[in-house]
Each structure stands twice: as structure tokens, then as C-alpha cells.
Symmetry: C2
Subunit: 257 residues, 2 copies
């Protein structure tokens, strides 16, 4: 069976989607361009409106287009990625007084904003407890939940977990942690970050995450479960980053040992 035979034997919705996809890939529909409406596509391909609609939905699911209620369907524009290098933990960045997020936002000429959504004492989930080497049957962690924006666009959600017994009564319990953020406080408590462990995965967002991050269909999230180790190679902080995958790239440069 030739390719065009395979094409013609596909359901109409997939054929319409493929034709549109090809137009996008060939540049006939450039980034930001508006697609023909559902009704126009239905007429053009001799299909029902719902069939054309299904074709557009397939493209949205593949991350190629975004539908906007009452306005149209647009080819998604590639976003300039927020790039987080493995040097984002480096002490030399500390000298700028800026966190990695603020540094990257500045590099892109954008205004960083961090909303502290909550600071609560909690029983840790098993995966956090395991990494912080604490019990998971008592309220042994402080959970700081932050929401990061660049020019008012949500980019990432970060949950940071610290040991309660260290954090209680310190600025770690406050929205504003003071100079150099939480790492400054943790260093004063004797934890100098010497090594880090990042566990990286990708998945589709939960509805709540999609809502918080303003994600359209077809955009996954990049999750980083980060553990900071101190001079004794003991874990002292765990953070879970949930990044919009259409806005975030990670970069690791490391020696081969």
C-alpha cells in the first residue's frame, strides 16, 4: 500500500488533520496564522462540522494549534524557552542577588514575579520523606508553595520542602526569606549546598496544574524533583518543580567521572 493509499484509507478527521499539519510544516500556515474555521473546513473537505472539529482537536492535542473561543484556531508560536542550566545552583549566581528564575527572566527582558501561595506545616508524602530522610507519619516538613510568572504569564509551580525542626521560628516560615532567599537561611543553619540530585520526568498536567499554569490542551509539564545535599552529603531541601513544557528547557553540563 502506498502512502497515499494509507492516507486515503484513514478516517476523514485524520486526513483533514494531516493536510493541515502538512500545511503547517511546509510553512503555508506560519506561526500565529489563523486556520480556516470549523465550518469552512467542513465545507472545503465535504465533511460534517464535527468531523472538521475533531481534526482541529487532533492538532491541538499534538501541540500544534490553539483554539480560542469566539476568535479562531491559531498555529502555535514557538516560545522562547526559559532555559535553566545546571549552573543555576552555582554559588557564583548567588553574587548577583538574583535567583535563577529572576536571572533568566532578566535575560529575556521580562519581569519576574513570584507568588507565595502558602507556607504550611505538613505530613510529607513518602517520596518527599524518603529524600529528606525524615518520618512520613508526623508533620515533619514545611511546605512552601510558590507560583512563578514572567510578564504575568505563569511558567512554573514550585513546592519546596524543608525540615520543620530547622525551619520553625526562622524566616524560612515567612514569605520573604531574606537575603539570598531560602538558601541564605539554610546556609546560616549550616547547610552549604555541595551537590544536587535532579530527577526529571514529563507527563500531562492535572486539571489543577493546567488551570494554574494556563495550559491549553496538548502541552505537557516537565517535572523536576530536586534534592539539595550539603557538605556532609546530607539532604536538606527537596523541591518539586512543575514547568510548562512549552516554556522550559533544562540544560545539564557535567563532567564524566
Amino acid at each position: 500500500m502506498t502512502r497515499s493509499e494509507a492516507f486515503s484509507q484513514q478516517p476523514a478527521s485524520r486526513r483533514i488533520a494531516q493536510a493541515l499539519r502538512t500545511a503547517i510544516e511546509r510553512g503555508e500556515l506560519s506561526a500565529g496564522a489563523k486556520l480556516p474555521s470549523e465550518r469552512a473546513l467542513a465545507e472545503e473537505y465535504g465533511a460534517a462540522r464535527n468531523t472538521a472539529r475533531e481534526a482541529i482537536r487532533l492538532l491541538a492535542e499534538q501541540g500544534l494549534v490553539t483554539a480560542k473561543h469566539g476568535r479562531g484556531v491559531f498555529v502555535r508560536e514557538p516560545q522562547r524557552l526559559f532555559r535553566f542550566g545546571s549552573d543555576r545552583y552555582s554559588l557564583k549566581n548567588r553574587e548577583t542577588g538574583l535567583t535563577p528564575f529572576r536571572l533568566e527572566a532578566k535575560r529575556q527582558g521580562k519581569t519576574a514575579r513570584i507568588d507565595v501561595l502558602g507556607i504550611t506545616r505538613e505530613v510529607p508524602s513518602p517520596d518527599i520523606a524518603e529524600r529528606l530522610k525524615i518520618r512520613d507519619d508526623q508533620e515533619t516538613v514545611v511546605h512552601r508553595k510558590n507560583h512563578y510568572f514572567a510578564d504575568d504569564e505563569p511558567v512554573q509551580i514550585v513546592s519546596t520542602y524543608l525540615r520543620w525542626d530547622e525551619a520553625q521560628g526562622t524566616l524560612l516560615m515567612q514569605p520573604k526569606a531574606g537575603p539570598h532567599g531560602i538558601y541564605g537561611r539554610l546556609e546560616e543553619l549550616g547547610h552549604v549546598m555541595t551537590r544536587v540530585r535532579d530527577e526529571i520526568s514529563a507527563r500531562m498536567p492535572t486539571p489543577e496544574e493546567a488551570r494554574l499554569l494556563g495550559l491549553p490542551p496538548g502541552v505537557p509539564v516537565l517535572e523536576v524533583l530536586h534534592t539539595s545535599l550539603d557538605q556532609d552529603l546530607e539532604p536538606f531541601e527537596v523541591s518539586r518543580y512543575v514547568h510548562r513544557a512549552d516554556r522550559t528547557g533544562l540544560l545539564y553540563e557535567l563532567p564524566v567521572e
Copy 2:
């Protein structure tokens, strides 16, 4: 507006989806369990079959369920992830004679298989050319395309790019590159890997990638654009990994410099 008000004001397909999602999260529908059929859900919720079908589609898009033609819709089972540590490039792994992929497959009691789909001389794309520091207007690279399986299940697609002038006439042009794979040959050519750079992102798969990896809807891919640097800190190999995100986790452990 209370949460239940927000719930009741949602379209029926989303309410049905949320109810099913809650049942999954509460364990009432455990991993591997079969959901009620479209027709049964339609009757149960007093909706049209297509409305129930849309609800199931939403769950599939969120990566929670998988529909199987003629059989039913099943709660997706969490897969044991293929975990690739940053030490996968380490020389000490070389002593085992096994590549990182084979090591991980062995750890999980699975049979690794690598299909070499092609070895071709090509003009590199700009992003590859830039990283290998070669021209992108001539056929200056060898492109090795491999497909990796664990117990006959596709896990990743890897495209490796090497300089043509180094690879021509060597085992690098053969499916079987000899002891220690391509890195053994490259070392013989004077390239000892000392540093690596991994650029990590996530996105939805192209239809072709979805086909090759056997991906159901709602599963993104994790892409790693890997560059190997030698003892002179010169790039000598670039590989693009496309991993099934439901089967792959990456781990980076590194010092803070």
C-alpha cells in the same frame, strides 16, 4: 461560588470526566481496572453516548486511561520507569561491556533490543551543525538512527550524529560498531569523553514518533539533545533521544561548582 457550584456549572462531559477522575484518584478504580462502557456511562449520567465518549477522551488526554478498540477503557497502570542516571556516561559502566540502556534493561529483568534503522550520510540540520561545529550546507554528518526496545516494547528513538570525515571507512558506518559501541571507536579516533551537555525538553510526539513508540494519546515525549565533549572540550558526537515519557525518568547528580 462553592466548589460544587463550579462543578455543577461545568459542561456534562467535564463533570463526567471529573467524577471518573475522582474515582481513579480515590482508588475506587484501581490501575488496570476497566471503566464502564461509553454506553453505560451515558445511561448512568443521563447523557448522550458522544458526551460520555468526550469525557473518556478527556481522561485519555490527561494520560489517565487508555481506550482499546472492541475491549474497553482501562485505567493506565504506572510503568516502572527506565531510569537513566547522569552516570550513564561514566567510564566505569564501560567495564561491564553494556550500554546504559542494556544495563537498565537488565536491572529490570527485561531483554534489551536495538534496531539500527539506518546509517546515512546527510546534510545536518542547523541545531546539529551548530553543536558539532560543522557546516550545515554540505553532507558533513553520519546519521545513525536506532530504535530501542525492552521486551519488545519500544522505549526510545535515538539519532546519533557523527562527523563524516571521521566516520567514513570505519566501523562507525556499520550497524555493529564493535567493542564498547561507537564510544569505543571514537576513543580510538582520539576522542575521550570528558564532559557532556544534555538539553532536556518535553513535548507531544509527532504522529510518526507516536507510531514508532506505540504511544497512546496523552503520553508526551522527553527529548534529550546530548553533546559529548572530548579532552579538548571539543564536541565530537551529538545524539537526540526521544523517550516515551511514561517509561523514562532522568537522573542528574552533580556537584555545585
